[in-house]
């Protein structure tokens, strides 16, 4: 089935209207700006995602980090165009390989789902259809987008199962989802997402339901697939350690807003937003057993009750009058004093789209940005 595999990038490119068959490493694949999502509820419209901006690059992993209800999954659904009917894309651009997905009709967007963009969900058992064999479900993408018949699609499905490390694919292709273990089901879901070699893979908490030894296997698989296809990966997670190990850059979300973003090593070593700092200090590492953890008091604000000013003001230890009056924008922060970060970026190719004006990127590499009036003070302790 080599021939079909080789056709894949070309087919994908044809759909998206790009010239390059395969994105080069570190090219900007996805650019999100001013993304806003509204939810219509019986208590009025609430803004679940507010002016979110980030970039995803080929062969790199961007982590969307945040706690439950912060809007990270909603962002992912907005990117994939699979929002609930009560949700509206209120504002923003989602530029995937030069096409603004936000400006397309739902029907036009269907062409992108699969060849250009794949998504892996958290709960594999509910994401898979229990009444169809995994072979049917894996082959669906090939039947719809490539026009293959059932027999050909089945062979493609077996090929995919091999790719994601499912043993004995020839016999298991006719099994149903419930006949697989949790880890294997997650592999099948990943296989479905990468079936048509998309340039962007969104993984929404792909390992949360799994045991650690299986989580390690799945993360290894995602890394391998990312390298093979030079995919841009958006990893949605609440786990700081997973971000530290898997991601190149991170966008920290709180109450629907990105409050801090930048390369993971720099953000975690020198957080510039009090929320990021508080999260990092909540992890029990390098502490005497039983020592007091530096927890964040309170809980995130209700989305229908977000105060004017900074979204984090109610929990912030350094809140000032200005924080209650004025919402800080996400703006670049000064780089750390050491040259370690700069050396990392030296090998990167500049972004081809020089019009990039988000605070997320400058000279082809992600820059540090934080949405805090006092981001400089945080760095100084």
């Amino acid at each position: 089935m080599k021939t079909a595999a080789e056709q894949a990038p070309a087919t994908a490119a044809a759909h998206a209207g790009t010239s390059a068959a395969q994105a080069k490493a570190h090219d900007v694949v996805l650019q999100v700006q001013d993304l806003a999502v509204d939810i219509r509820t019986h208590r009025g419209t609430i803004r679940a995602v507010n002016s979110v901006a980030f970039e995803a690059r080929a062969g790199e992993t961007l982590a969307l980090l945040g706690e439950s209800g912060c809007g990270k999954s909603m962002t992912a659904k907005a990117l994939a165009g699979i929002m609930d009917p009560v949700c509206d894309l209120a504002d923003g651009q989602i530029v995937l390989n030069g096409t603004d997905l936000a400006a397309l009709t739902p029907k036009e967007r269907l062409k992108f789902a699969g060849p250009e963009l794949g998504i892996v969900f958290q709960d594999a058992l509910t994401a898979l259809n229990p009444v169809y064999t995994v072979g049917t479900q894996l082959g669906e993408a090939f039947r719809i987008h490539r026009g293959l018949n059932a027999k050909q699609a089945r062979l493609e499905a077996i090929d995919l199962m091999k790719r994601v490390g499912i043993p004995e694919p020839e016999s298991r292709v006719n099994s149903y989802p419930h006949q697989f273990s949790g880890g294997m089901r997650q592999r099948i879901l990943i296989a479905m997402a990468v079936a048509l070699n998309p340039s962007l893979l969104i993984a929404d908490e792909p390992t949360t339901a799994l045991d650690v030894t299986v989580q390690a296997q799945i993360m290894q698989l995602l890394r391998t697939l990312r390298e093979e296809g030079q995919m841009a990966v958006i990893l949605i997670t609440h786990d700081l350690a997973v971000v530290a190990e898997e991601a190149d850059s991170v966008a920290v979300m709180y109450a629907g807003n990105v409050v801090e973003s930048g390369p993971v090593a720099e953000v975690f070593a020198d957080p510039r937003h009090p929320y990021t700092k508080g999260l990092l200090e909540s992890v029990p590492v390098h502490l005497e057993r039983g020592a007091e953890l530096n927890s964040i008091p309170g809980s995130p604000p209700e989305l229908h009750d977000i105060p004017p000013g900074c979204v984090y003001q109610s929990r912030c230890p350094m809140v000032q009058a200005i924080c209650r009056a004025e919402r800080p924008a996400l703006r670049p922060v000064t780089p750390p004093v050491s040259g370690a970060g700069a050396a990392d970026g030296a090998g990167l190719t500049p972004a081809q789209d020089s019009r990039a004006i988000t605070p997320i990127s400058a000279e082809g590499r992600p820059v540090r940005a934080a949405a805090c009036h006092f981001s400089e003070e945080i760095s100084n302790g």
Binding site: E67, V212, A241, A244, A269, L287, R289, G290, E292, I296
Partner: protein, 341 residues
């Protein structure tokens, strides 16, 4: 070590289930578990899903009857107790559940939830005045307001609900609280609040915890001693730092290695990624149960079940591991891991 409050010897529990692929109908969920828990001590129970952690917890709560083995709680076997004595024993072991959204009755107020255990244990706080006062006291102890007693569970956040669950467990002044994944459903910032609360309560009340968790970072923070379970057996146990820093059993080493670390120094670490998944407990491997996923398995591992070996570290700390070929140092571990990859 503190004097053992709870001693478990050779606990075995077999469930009878529908026929498996091999025709086996017996699922050995616990296979010869021996443990001690000291007064005021925290024992961490670590393992993947299906390893028997929850069955062990349920057995200690007397929700399951063991087939073999003994449980001794300050010298008495709770499974031999009847009537009032049994009631008295039940008071002393309480539990906090994983999911704070499922474990509180949505039709009861927080105060009623906390006071419900006293409906069974009437002698504890016989008058309603005493009960009301104690509810307020318990709410205060877990960091909630006395006025919260009238609210229903839906009005609380996940972290606050878990505090109510803890207050309910404390209502009977127990000696041991079994915490089954008490923070895994909570967000990180809230998780830290609840862990702080648990530590604080232990210092004040001297209560023992059996802390079940898959999060090794959390276990390391709370547990004095740790027991690692795999397919119904405790494969390694000892003082927490000793087990975590110098694992002797390959599975413990793999578990440590597989759990993500918050380290952004960029230092590459040797990772052991185990092959395959947990074998079905219905058809456990012969001999050593871990051998099918172990990178250093030999012929003997398939034939002979390894006995626990007590290993004494240079600084005198002891811990035991069930392995024919225990890893002898961290250096040896990375060597073995490197060859496995």
């Amino acid at each position: 070590m503190a004097e053992p409050l709870l001693t478990i010897e050779g606990l075995t529990k077999t469930f009878h289930v529908a026929k498996s692929a091999s025709g086996n109908t017996k699922l050995k969920a616990l296979d010869g578990i021996s443990l001690t828990v000291g007064r005021g001590e925290t024992l961490g129970l670590v393992g993947e899903s299906g390893c028997g952690k929850s069955t062990l917890a349920r057995t200690l709560m007397m929700l399951e009857t063991p087939d073999e083995g003994t449980v001794s709680f300050e010298g008495t076997n709770p499974f031999g107790l009847r009537g009032k004595e049994l009631l008295g024993w039940r008071r002393r072991v309480q539990m906090v559940f994983q999911d704070p959204f499922a474990s509180l009755n949505a039709r009861m107020s927080a105060g009623d939830i906390i006071a419900e255990p006293w409906a069974t244990h009437r002698s504890l706080y016989p008058t309603s005045r005493e009960r009301d006062a104690r509810v307020r006291e318990l709410l205060h102890m877990v960091g909630l307001r006395p006025s919260d007693a009238r609210k229903s569970p839906q009005e609380f956040s996940g972290g606050q609900r878990q505090r109510i669950g803890i207050a309910r467990a404390l209502a009977l002044n127990p000696d041991v609280i079994i915490l089954d994944e008490p923070v895994s459903a909570l967000d990180l910032s809230v998780q830290a609040q609840v862990l702080n609360l648990l530590n604080e309560l232990q210092r004040e009340l001297g209560v023992s915890y059996i802390f079940i968790s898959h999060d090794l970072t959390v276990v390391r923070h709370v547990a004095d001693r740790v027991a690692v379970m795999y397919l119904g057996r405790i494969i390694e146990t000892g003082q927490t730092e000793e087990v975590f820093d110098h694992p002797r059993h390959p599975y413990t080493a793999a578990l440590m290695s597989a759990s993500p670390k918050l380290d952004v120094s960029g230092a590459k670490r040797d990772r052991i990624v185990l092959k395959g998944e947990l074998p079905s407990p219905l058809d456990p491997p012969s001999g050593c149960r871990f051998r099918t996923r172990c990178w250093q398995a030999q012929d003997i591992c398939a034939k002979v079940s390894p006995e626990p070996q007590v290993i004494t570290a240079p600084d005198g700390r002891r811990h035991s591991a069930e392995c024919h070929f225990p890893l002898d140092s961290l250096k040896g571990l990375t060597g073995a891991a490197a060859s496995a990859l």
